[in-house]
């Protein structure tokens, strides 16, 4: 849950606060009000999807700070 690395940057050269690290993830399955999503590198994460409406497996989402901001066309 928490990141105790003392590199303290989320990735070598990105800043989560600015929002440019919003990433595209693919919905794998639904988990209550959340969705399990997969990144292109194969990693998975539980993402809150209330702000983008109903989602289905295969949907591509723009995600920032574990919250989906937009469903991609």
């Amino acid at each position: 849950m928490t990141d105790e690395r003392d590199g303290l940057q989320h990735g070598a050269d990105t800043c989560i606060t600015c929002g440019d690290v919003a990433v595209t993830l693919t919905v794998v399955s639904l988990d209550g009000v959340d969705a399990v999503c997969r990144a292109d590198d194969g990693g998975t994460e539980v993402i809150a999807v209330e702000l983008v409406g109903p989602v289905a497996p295969g949907d591509r989402l723009l995600v920032h700070a574990k919250v989906a901001l937009e469903k991609l066309a």
Partner: protein
């Protein structure tokens, strides 16, 4: 990789560069401000400037929220964390090295405060649920991209009645910052590259006054190198045609209306502050968010005594001028010498999206070229 590879194609980049070169007026100097720190980072990481004619100057704006946080707000949270042994202060990792008057969060952690890095405010909320004997405070920071995650977390905290959780809110809004930049007498701009992910939330319409009242083009852009290059090409087209419009280069993500659900979540949980101090820009009216009355029980500034100390920036630091685009990072007196990413004096050197850090990490070649040009 979809949505990535097609926006980093060198041949497409050269094609866009040719389009820009064909349309620029060789007698004219163009000053384009990229509002968002993410664009600054992309420009120097990928060498976008090298594809553009010398007459196009990219000016870095104030859109890095870590960079505009005043030192006093770091100190306020540090005091809360150190004065309450039950406290777990949580924040994004970027914030840990931001210097305050009493040192950084890293320094406070070394002194014994329990300060932890999280990826999401939802992680902070889960921490509160898992540790009912502790109080978890989330240091919320960011523009409208980040505010929805805080808003959603607050809604969940209220629904789940998590009463050992609070938010120290420092969310800021982009439009007042752009207005402050335009009011600055030191800077004359020709156009803006608009922030892509902020616009995912607020949409394109809030920028219409820039085109209508200021007569300046603004093109909302994504963060891949071809996104930025295409945005520059669209701006040059507008200027060559005598147009000033809001255009959306990032249409694969950004809708004109933004995300209304996210905007409603923000409106439910937060309200505009009368004023907020921005590092480098000073106090700007209605430029930041605080928790709404409905969520007062989660407002750290109401639950705890906040010193509200105002700390002057170090005299040697010229972050203010850099944030307004008046100075280039390397023109700061301490850039790369006393102030480096390892030992930052100013916040612009802390965040990787800060203009100084972007130059330091990726822009040395460009800086040398410009220095040579000046000498010639």
């Amino acid at each position: 990789m979809r949505f990535v590879d097609e926006y980093r194609d060198p041949e497409l980049a050269r094609s866009l560069a040719r389009r820009v070169a064909e349309r620029v007026d060789p007698q004219r100097h163009y000053k384009l401000m990229e509002v968002c720190g993410g664009h600054t980072h992309a420009i120097y990481r990928y060498g976008v400037q090298d594809y553009l004619p010398e007459s196009i100057e990219l000016v870095h704006g104030p859109g890095c929220p870590v960079c505009v946080i005043p030192m006093g707000r770091i100190d306020d949270a540090t005091v809360i964390a150190e004065d309450h042994p039950e406290m777990i202060l949580t924040c994004f990792g970027d914030l840990m090295r931001v210097p305050g008057g009493r040192g950084s969060f890293l320094d406070a952690r070394a002194r014994g405060a329990d300060i932890r890095v999280v990826y999401s405010p939802l992680d902070a909320l889960r921490l509160a649920v898992e540790h009912p004997e502790r109080h978890v405070m989330f240091y919320a920071i960011g523009f409208e991209t980040t505010a929805p995650s805080t808003a959603l977390t607050l809604q969940r905290a209220k629904a789940e009645r998590v009463n050992n959780f609070s938010v120290f809110c420092n969310h800021v809004t982009i439009i007042p910052a752009i207005k402050a930049i335009l009011d600055s007498p030191d800077l004359r701009l020709d156009a803006f590259i608009g922030p892509g992910h902020v616009s995912t939330v607020i949409g394109n319409r809030p920028y219409e006054w820039i085109a209508r009242n200021e007569g300046l083009p603004i093109v909302v852009a994504g963060f891949e190198p071809l996104d930025v290059l295409e945005a520059v090409a669209m701006i040059v087209d507008q200027l060559a045609d005598g147009r000033a419009e809001v255009e959306n280069q990032y249409a694969r993500v950004v809708r004109d209306e933004g995300n209304p659900v996210a905007l409603r979540a923000i409106a439910d949980t937060m309200t505009l502050r009368p004023w907020f101090e921005w590092r480098g820009l000073g106090s700007i009216n209605h430029s930041a968010l605080q928790l709404s009355e409905r969520y007062a029980e989660f407002d750290a500034e109401l639950r705890f005594d906040v010193p509200g100390v105002r700390v002057a920036d170090p005299k040697a630091c010229q972050c203010g001028e850099v944030l307004k685009g008046v100075l280039k990072p390397w023109e700061c007196k301490v850039f790369g010498t006393a102030c480096t990413p390892e030992t930052p004096i100013g916040t612009c050197m802390v965040s990787s999206e800060g203009a100084c850090a972007a130059y330091y990490n990726f822009g040395k070649a460009a800086r040398q070229r410009v220095e040579l040009k000046v000498k010639a």
